[in-house]
């Protein structure tokens, strides 16, 4: 009885083993699909502005070829493992030392493919790397562990001091207009990041980096510090609301009261 049971289990296990990789991949795929909730506040796949849009495009140019190559390599490995598995322990295959033509091909082909995605990449670097345009709306961002401060030189009080906002969830910018963020740090290095509007730029003491972004539509955008800055780095978050210019002006006037 016992022996029978044991043989059965072993047989089952052996048959199961061949399916482990397939089961594993299927499981991953299922999990991947079940967890795909795109409606999250900092999703980089859900761009809401020109900059984030173009950056997502660049990502797709490299992501799709990467997925194709991954499939070829992983699938190829699987096929090779099955096809060339040892059948006869005495068998010694022909001792092939290489194939120069083939190897040259898989040196040159990837180089061409990489340069092919590299050229539009450089174009996008220059496209997004230009200085902000003349009519951009200027905001001075002051990062201090572990809060953000937005200063609005366009809105000043009677003494000529710019409007300053410390409310971490109450920052405002115009929608549909380029915004130039002038980034200042008073202590350590931080990084200014509003994922749905665009990638990050570091906020470095002793220098002023300038990042321009544009929110296509009104909305509220979530962001946070992306360079480790100490104890409460995780809590250095912000909410930025983009709204039409008139509403923004009204908001600023009210704030200055």
């Amino acid at each position: 009885m016992r022996r029978n049971g044991t043989t059965l289990t072993l047989g089952h296990l052996r048959r199961l083993r061949t399916f482990i990789p397939a089961l594993f991949l299927l499981g991953l795929l299922a999990l991947f699909l079940s967890g795909c909730d795109t409606d999250t506040p900092q999703n980089t796949f859900d761009p809401k502005g020109e900059v984030a849009d173009k950056q997502a495009d660049v990502f797709y140019w490299s992501m799709w070829p990467a997925i194709v190559i991954m499939t070829i390599v992983l699938g190829g490995l699987l096929v090779i493992m099955l096809r060339f598995r040892e059948r006869d322990p005495e068998h010694v295959p022909p001792q092939v030392h290489g194939n120069t033509r083939l190897e040259l091909a898989w040196t040159i082909a990837p180089a061409i493919l990489l340069l092919a995605i590299g050229i539009p990449m450089v174009a996008t670097i220059y496209d997004l790397g230009r200085p902000p345009s003349e009519d951009a709306f200027r905001v001075d961002v002051i990062a201090q562990r572990f809060t953000w401060e937005f200063q609005y030189p366009e809105y000043t009080d009677e003494d000529g001091k710019p409007l300053s906002v410390f409310d971490q969830s109450g920052f405002h910018i115009p929608a549909g207009r380029e915004v130039a963020f002038y980034l200042h740090s008073v202590d350590v290095i931080h990084s200014f990041w509003l994922p749905k509007l665009g990638g990050k730029l570091d906020v470095i003491p002793g220098r002023t980096n300038v990042l321009w972004l544009r929110a296509d539509e009104p909305g509220t955008f979530s962001g946070q510090c992306a360079e480790f800055c100490g104890l409460f780095h995780a809590d250095m978050t912000m909410k930025v609301t983009a709204q039409p210019q008139e509403e923004l002006d009204a908001w600023a006037a009210e704030m200055l009261q």
Binding site: F45, I204, F228
Partner: protein, 641 residues
């Protein structure tokens, strides 16, 4: 030896001689402490690395527990920050580098037909200095009020960005321990790097030209060159940080005219070659395992070697890809963007050549092969995700996010660590004479592969969903809960796989099957020796006539081109080795054990402790270093009888 004028024996030199005698007895603990045998030093490196792998792994599990759920309070932010700093530092400097060093030490002399490395005592000095630094760094935990959960360890991240690492923002001594500990690893690595370059260039057996060397030896050579050029860069950066922290210099203080970005440039100018210091030894291991288990020579030896060399060169021209978001401008970002995507070319060549090696082979599904093929697959994913964020504009989104965490774990865990595990399974029999348990090895592999993917694949997603790295917690409305929970579950699966490994290791050590000299029917010289090899390795230094010298003693091609075994081939050599018992290698002079490297190494942590707490200790430490070095120079290399 008698020709050297030895001054009149003092009691001290008599005592030292007595101690060395004690170390000659190969079963005493002193024989390990004073050893200069490359195999023993390799084993010491390996054991230390595995111990620290467990330490770094426990740190990772604590981090994952904190992140398993949003708004968790398992760790306070301070503890979290210190633990991720120590996790990163430990895994890079105390696990992957020393584990690679273990293989350099164990394998290189055997593979090139040498009796030891060029400088055996310098080799011992490397190990002890590494261990001194490792213990010193981890001692920082106890400088805080650890019983109340207040860890004293460094908390500035493993790349220690200034000005966060300066005294103003990192009070306490954690970062002091970090920078001085790293300096010690640098000294240890430099000594090792020079040692292996000299060994490989000068001590190859007759006939073993550079292009007949096993690829693992080639990768050791490239790695050693990277080490000797990269370590001085980080040494300078660390000296500057030391001056900033201890003596109020202002290298990195913007307010006083310093430049915080200077640190980043120097750190990554070291740090990117460092990445290849971590991965190239793994590539070397793969290039040994895959041919053995597919019973074919490595496909395209020259391409694999030259792509490794090319990676070594190119690794110096890509460091700014860690700094795309610092605002260096369009020209710098474009240039480094292009250089970074092009480093994928030589890396891809290796992957394709490994596939070519397997193609047409007769593949034996043994544990080392499973780890090797798993590594190729995981490294491919890591390499491809690397290409996606070498693309500068998309990196603006992914930099410092969990996407990057996913990427470098695919490269350094799926790549380096898995390959190193494969190496352990592969060469375990050579040094113990026992085979590791095969079913447990497969269980180890599958648990690790699944746990690894479950941990790190979701990090791609959480990163693209905007989760920054190094956050001690997150809000539940961000959509990251599910992915983080998965990562935590996966991390515990990895932990389980490591437990299986440890069980297998000790079980096999005690009750493993006898392996014999050449259990895998392998191709390289070390398998021509008995397992474990005698202290002097080769009784007679072999003369090498081809790349597959050892294989050719076992197999030849018949008239039709079929590969057939040579009758009584291969097995002859070990038999000869045992043949004349009366000789037993007594005529071979091996360097005597020495305590001097250890004495010199102990000086370093004393100097470092002195710099932090009391300058009076500094001269004491330096005195010890000098005593060690002088004793080393003065003592006879081989004991007179």
């Amino acid at each position: 030896m008698a020709s050297i004028a030895v001054p009149k024996r003092s009691p001290l030199s008599e005592a030292l001689k007595g101690a060395r005698r004690a170390a000659e007895n190969s079963s005493s603990i002193w024989s390990w402490i004073a050893t200069v045998d490359h195999k023993r030093i390799g084993i010491l490196y390996g054991i230390s690395a595995v111990v620290f792998f467990i330490v770094g792994g426990v740190e990772a599990l604590l981090l994952r527990l904190q992140l398993a759920q949003p708004d968790a309070n398992f760790l306070d932010p301070d503890a979290y920050n210190r633990l991720f700093t120590m996790h990163g530092t430990t895994m890079v400097f105390l696990v992957v580098m020393p584990l690679s060093s273990a293989f350099f030490n164990l394998m290189v002399p055997l593979m090139i037909g040498a009796r030891d490395v060029a400088f055996p005592r310098l080799n011992a000095f490397s190990y002890w200095t590494f261990l001194a630094g490792a213990i010193f760094l981890n001692a920082s935990f106890f400088t805080g009020d650890i019983l109340n959960g207040d860890l004293g360890a460094p908390g500035g991240g493993w790349f220690g960005y200034a000005p966060l690492s300066l005294r103003e923002f990192a009070p306490g001594h954690g970062m002091d321990f970090w920078m001085l500990g790293l300096q010690m690893f640098g000294i240890a690595s430099l000594a090792g790097g020079f040692n292996f370059i000299v060994t490989i260039l000068n001590m190859r057996a007759p006939g073993m030209t550079l292009f007949r060397m096993p690829v693992f030896v080639w990768m050791t050579l490239v790695t050693s060159f990277l080490i000797i050029f990269a370590m001085p860069v980080i040494a300078v950066a660390l000296f500057e940080l030391t001056f900033d922290r201890l003596f109020d210099a202002n290298y990195f203080n913007a307010e006083a005219g310093g430049n915080p970005l200077l640190w980043q440039h120097m750190f990554w100018l070291f740090g990117h070659p460092e990445v290849y210091i971590l991965i190239l030894p793994a590539f070397g291991i793969l290039s040994e395992i895959l041919p053995t288990f597919s019973r074919k020579p490595l496909f395209g030896y020259a391409f694999v070697v030259f792509s490794g060399v090319a990676i070594g060169f190119m690794s110096w021209g890509v460091w700014v890809h860690h700094m795309y978001t610092t605002g260096l401008g369009t020209v710098a970002n474009s240039a480094f963007g292009i250089s970074t995507i092009l480093i994928a070319v030589p890396t891809g060549v290796k992957v394709f050549n490994w596939m070519g090696t397997l193609w047409g082979g007769s593949i034996r599904f043994r544990a080392p092969l499973m780890f090797a093929v798993g590594t190729v697959a995981m490294f491919t994913i890591g390499g491809l995700s690397g290409v996606t964020h070498s693309m500068v504009p998309s990196d603006y989104q992914q930099n410092s996010s969990y996407y990057v965490v996913a990427h470098f774990h695919y490269v350094l865990f799926g790549g380096a660590i898995m390959a190193l595990f494969g190496g352990i399974y592969y060469w375990f029999p050579k040094f113990t004479g026992k085979l590791m348990n095969e079913p447990l090895g497969h269980l180890n592999f599958w648990l690790m592969l699944i746990g690894f993917n479950l941990t790190f694949f979701p990090m791609h997603i959480s990163g693209l969903l905007g989760m920054p790295r190094r956050v001690y917690t997150y809000n539940s409305d961000m959509g990251w809960d599910f992915w983080n929970l998965m990562s935590t579950v996966g991390a515990f699966l990895i932990a389980l796989s490591v437990l299986v490994f440890l069980y297998n290791f000790f079980l096999s050590l005690r009750r493993g099957k006898e392996s014999g000299p050449d259990p895998w029917d392998a191709r390289t010289l070390e398998w021509s020796l008995p397992s474990p090899p005698p202290e002097y390795n080769f009784k007679e230094i072999p003369t090498v006539d081809s790349r597959d010298h050892f294989w050719n003693t076992k197999y030849r091609e018949d008239e039709t081109g079929r590969v057939v075994p040579v009758l009584a081939g291969g097995v002859v050599e070990p038999e000869e080795e045992h043949g004349d018992d009366d000789e037993h290698g007594h005529g071979i002079h091996m360097p005597s054990p020495s305590y001097m490297p250890l004495i010199a190494s102990i000086g370093f942590p004393i100097v470092a402790t002195g710099l932090i707490y009391d300058y009076a200790l500094v001269p004491v430490g330096f005195a010890l270093i000098l005593i060690g070095l002088f004793g080393w120079v003065m003592e006879p290399a081989t004991e007179e009888d």
